[in-house]
Amino acid sequence: MRLPLIALIVAAFGLSLGHGPSVAHAQDAAAQADTSVSMEIVVLHGTNDGTGIDPKIGKMPELAKPPFSSYNSYKLLDRSKQTSSKASPSTLKLPNDRVLKVSLKDVVQPSKKGEPKRYVISASIQKPGGSDFLPLLEVNAKAGETFFVAGQNHKGGVLVIGIKVNP
C-alpha cells in the first residue's frame, strides 16, 4: 500500500521537475528568436517660439495635449532607428551631450491567442560626467506604441524623446 503511494509522490515531483525545465526550454527557444528588436527614437525640441510643429515630425497628436501643450512649437532634432538586444543595448547621444541608453530586457509572450507580444524596454540617460540623469525607466510596450521621456532643459525649451518599438 505504501509503496505505490511513495511511487506516486516521487512521480509527481519528478513530473514537476522534469516538465518545468522542458517548458522553460521551449519558451527559451522562442525567446531566442526575439533577442533583438528594432526601435525608432525621435528627439524633439519643444519651445515657445511660435513656429508651430515641425511637419517632419509627422502625425503626433499628443503634442497638442498636456503636458506637451506647455510648448507651442516642436522641432525635429533627430530621428534614428536603433537595434537593441538583451546583450547589447543601443546608445544615442542627445543634443545636450547626454547619452540615452535603450535596451531590450525581455519579450513577454502573449497569455492569450491573438494578443500581441510585449517588449520590456529599459531606458536610462547619463550625463557627460557619467552620473545618471534618469537612472532607470523600464516599460512594457507593444510594437508600434510610443512612449516619451521629456523634460530636460535645452536651449530655452525642453527635449522630448519618443521611443517606439517597430513591429
Partner: protein, 246 residues
C-alpha cells in the same frame, strides 16, 4: 498620499513598486491591506503576468487548503481503539466495587500482551496498531498539489519580466515644471492616479522607474478623441536647475 504641486494641480503621488511574490501570496491569502493592497490591485489590473501568477497561487492555495481540511480523525481513531481494548481487557477493576464488609479476595490485574498469543504474527500484521493510511493519502495529495504548484510556478517564472530587487518605481509630481502652464480641465492629461478607475488602458505600462534624487511625473496622455481609451505614456523629468545643460 496626495501632493499639491505642479502649478497648483493636485496629483496622486504613489510608489509604483511591482508587487513581490510574497506580497502576491499575501494578497491571495487576504492578508494584504491598506495602500499596498490598492497598489497590488492596480498592478494586477495592468499586468497579465501578475494576474496569471495570482491565479496559480489561488489554485495551489485552494488545493492545499482542501487537503489540509480533509478529516484526519486521529482522536476518533484513538478513542475507538481504546474502546475496543476495553472490551477485551475488562477485568475485576472495571467491575462495581464489592461491599467493604464482604470478604474480599484480591486478584492481580490480568496482564495481556500487546500481541495476542492466539493470533500470531500474521494476524498482527493484518491489523495495524493505528490506521494511518488516511494520513498517507493526505500527504500524497498535498505532495501532488505542491508538485502541480511548482510546475505552474516554473512556467510563470519564465515569462516574468520583473527582476527581484528592481529599483523602486516612484510616480511623483514634479516640484516645478519649467514654463509648463497648468492644463485646462477639459484637456488635462490622465495622470497616473487616474488610471485607477480602470477605464483607461495605458498603452505602455511603466514597470519600474528610478528618478534618482529628482522628482518626476508619469502622464497618460490620450492620443485620440476623448472617448478613446488609448493613451500614450509620458515620463516627465526636469532638470534640477532652470536652464539646465545646453
Amino acid at each position: 498620499m496626495t501632493t499639491k504641486t505642479m502649478n497648483g494641480e493636485a496629483h496622486e503621488t504613489r510608489t509604483k513598486r511591482p508587487p513581490t511574490d510574497l506580497e502576491l501570496m499575501m494578497y491571495v491569502d487576504g492578508e494584504l491591506e491598506g495602500e499596498r493592497l490598492r497598489e497590488v490591485r492596480l498592478a494586477l489590473s495592468r499586468d497579465s503576468v501578475l494576474r496569471s501568477k495570482v491565479a496559480a497561487l489561488s489554485l495551489t492555495s485552494s488545493i492545499v487548503r482542501e487537503n489540509a481540511e480533509s478529516d484526519i480523525d486521529l482522536a476518533d481513531g484513538i478513542m475507538a481503539r481504546i474502546a475496543a481494548d476495553k472490551s477485551t481487557t475488562h477485568d475485576a477493576r472495571d467491575a462495581a466495587p464489592a461491599p467493604l464488609d464482604a470478604p474480599v479476595e484480591r486478584k492481580d490485574a490480568e496482564v495481556k500482551p500487546l500481541l495476542r498469543p492466539g493470533l500470531g504474527k500474521t494476524a498482527a500484521k493484518s491489523a495495524p496498531s493505528n490506521d494511518n493510511s488516511r494520513g498517507i493519502f493526505a500527504l500524497a495529495a498535498v505532495a501532488v498539489a505542491a508538485a502541480a504548484g511548482l510546475m505552474i510556478w516554473g512556467r510563470m517564472d519564465v515569462g516574468t519580466p520583473h527582476p527581484q530587487g528592481a529599483p523602486v518605481a516612484a510616480v511623483t509630481t514634479p516640484a516645478e515644471l519649467p514654463a509648463a502652464p497648468a492644463p485646462t480641465p477639459s484637456e488635462a492629461p490622465r495622470a497616473a492616479s487616474d488610471a485607477d478607475d480602470g477605464d483607461a488602458e495605458p498603452g505602455v505600462a511603466v514597470a519600474a522607474v528610478d528618478f534618482g534624487a529628482k522628482i518626476g511625473t508619469i502622464f497618460y496622455v490620450p492620443t485620440e478623441a476623448a472617448t478613446s481609451n488609448h493613451t500614450t505614456t509620458v515620463v516627465w523629468l526636469a532638470d534640477d536647475s532652470a536652464g539646465g545643460e545646453q
